[in-house]
Amino acid sequence: MPQQSSQTILDVVTWIQRHLDAGLSYRFACRVGMCGSCAMMVNGIPRWTCRTHVNKVMRDNSLTIEPLRNLPLIKDLACDMSEFFEKWTDSKGYFQGSTTRHDPVSTLSPNSPQRRVADAATECINCAICYASCDVVNWNRDYLGPAALNRAWSLQNDERDSASAERLSVVAGDAGCHQCHSQQGCATYCPNELNPTASIAGLKRMVAKAYVRGELGAGGKGRQGPESDA
């Protein structure tokens, strides 16, 4: 195939679909690293293909492009992302406020230590690259995974959020943060340079504190699967 300057992996896949195999299925939307839909395994490493230049990752003039690891395949290069997003909601990865539109808008200092911690974990684009790079996900299918836990950590540090006790009991569950062995595959490959390992370490500390104080709810089973009681 013709090589061009600044050619991305996504360009390659698109070229293949246009010229070699019109039925090739894959996902993309923004092409500028915003939407997180284009992740694939490139030479065995999970990458955002729209921002990955061919000349940076080509080995011996060849490229192997595969669907993301750790997710069920739909077709060709398109994976079923359901479990990734389900775990995101299972771990209460959404903001839950306690005020209404009639209350005054809360003021947040962007410089408070807690806000900085929350901010450091916010720029996630849901690309599942960390999920694909995590071996614990591979070894324990229930494990919530780096992205969901990273999101939970961000919310745990949002002073406006009102579901922190509940969320903490979920992330402390049998599929939660304690499964992580801190190999930092997630942090190594996250295209936005987020650090789920650090977030998960924070959750472990938070859970330990709550446990010692007897504040940890018993409800935290995480994903209820046939294996979740092991």
Binding site: N140, A172, D174, H178, Y211, D229, A230
Partner: protein
């Protein structure tokens, strides 16, 4: 909640063992010169409260620590789950604890 408890037990036993292992490494390197014999070891340990407590604590901590570590490996690398996993982990824990306490008794109690 089980995983929280295991995690905390794993880290607490690790923290307990860290200084004990440092001492153990130091003693080993110190005494290995010129070879070791039973009399030399037992002279140090027999009737010693310090060494009895040191090794006793180590045995308890290491049984907890190793059993949890082994459980992780069985779970993640051999996909063992449920009751089988629990039984093997508990047996390993109990076996190690008993063998260890017996060894401590052998070198500390005359």
């Amino acid at each position: 909640m089980l995983e929280v408890r295991l995690y905390l037990a794993q880290r607490a036993s690790a923290a307990i063992m860290a200084p004990l292992v440092l001492i153990h490494l130091g003693v080993m390197i110190y005494t290995i010169q010129g070879g070791v014999d039973a009399a030399e070891i037992l002279e140090r340990t027999r009737g010693s409260f310090f060494w009895g407590a040191n090794y006793g604590l180590f045995v308890i901590a290491v049984s907890v620590h190793a059993a949890i570590g082994l459980r992780n490996i069985l779970r993640e690398w051999l996909s063992l789950r449920g009751i089988g996993l629990a039984i093997i982990s508990w047996i390993f824990f109990a076996g190690l604890l008993m063998a260890g306490l017996r060894a401590v008794a052998a070198v500390v109690i005359a």
